[in-house]
Symmetry: C2
Subunit: 140 residues, 2 copies
């Protein structure tokens, strides 16, 4: 079944924390703007100095601060930090979650962050990894 | 099988063109910047006046033009248009494609644009729609 196949490959799905682009909540928005423009990921995790998962960040959260009455300015980015704009309510799974829960969350989330019992960021589970598994199952 | 189930629901998967946010290739980048910031989609189609599909556009393609030696300025956006930065090589499917081909393309693409025989944009097929189908199959 799909469940068996997913459960079997479970560790193969995780993109480990050290491979995931992230920012710190106290980074200036100018830094975050440069980073997101360079890495081109649409949404990345926000961590603290001990790798705890604090939030999620996208470019629109930043560019939204650059617009006033349809005028665009980089000025506001110099006095704001990631913490001021990041998303703080989001889905996560514990590192012992079953794939059923992950599959359900990937319906509405392009990726699901994985944390341990102390909320230390372990990595992400992505739709791409799930799609590869389904593509395989659908052909076999 | 998954294939049967997908084939059956085929028209239910398509997000029709009139529900898809898009820009025109001759729009100034200032306009595209404002639009992408407001709608918050990470990638959208670029059309011409007759709804032909010409390209794909993301915010980083635009913000990349705002950066010079780590300085951020909106100045360049006033003299550039969507056509100057958009992605022109990308996967599409014809409106008579089978779901097998779509499933394969959704492994590497968050969405696949659908065009007719004259390259008129019909809509998009998304990973979310596919994930909903798999979630259903996996539970039944
Ligand atoms: N540098 C790259 N190389 C190859 N393919 C690339 C790529 N950047 C993006 N893609 C493709 O585009 C999809 C959407 O990326 P997006 O950045 O919007 O959305 C991403 C991003 O928000 C996050 N993500 C994935 N890998 C990441 C990483 N290493 N660091 C930070 N965030 C990551 O998870 C979301 C879903 O990723 P997923 O792999 O399912 O789906 C990815 C992947 O299929
Ligand atoms: N306004 C909203 N309401 C509810 N959920 C939202 C949402 N905006 C984003 N999402 C969620 O976030 C996922 C990634 O969106 P993203 O904009 O990066 O990536 C999107 C975007 O590039 C494009 N897309 C989807 N719907 C679109 C639309 N109506 N107009 C233009 N582009 C669209 O297809 C990609 C994949 O979309 P998918 O639905 O699989 O996956 C979406 C969906 O699960």
């Amino acid at each position: 079944s799909i469940q068996d196949m997913l459960a079997e490959k479970e560790n193969g799905f995780l993109i480990p924390g050290d491979k995931v682009a992230s920012v710190q909540e106290d980074n200036p928005l100018t830094h975050a703007f440069l980073l997101l423009t360079k890495v081109r990921y649409s949404k990345i995790p926000v961590l603290d100095g001990q790798s705890h998962l604090l939030g999620l960040l996208t470019i629109p959260m930043i560019t939204n601060k650059m617009i006033e009455l349809d005028d665009i300015s980089q000025q506001p980015l110099q006095s704001l930090i990631v913490k001021d704009v990041m998303q703080t309510e989001f889905d996560t799974v514990k590192d012992d979650a079953n794939m059923d829960e992950v599959l359900h969350l990937l319906v509405d989330n392009p990726f699901v962050p994985v944390v341990d019992a102390d909320n230390v960021f372990c990595g992400i589970l992505t739709r791409r990894e799930m799609m590869k598994a389904f593509n395989f199952v659908a052909h076999n």
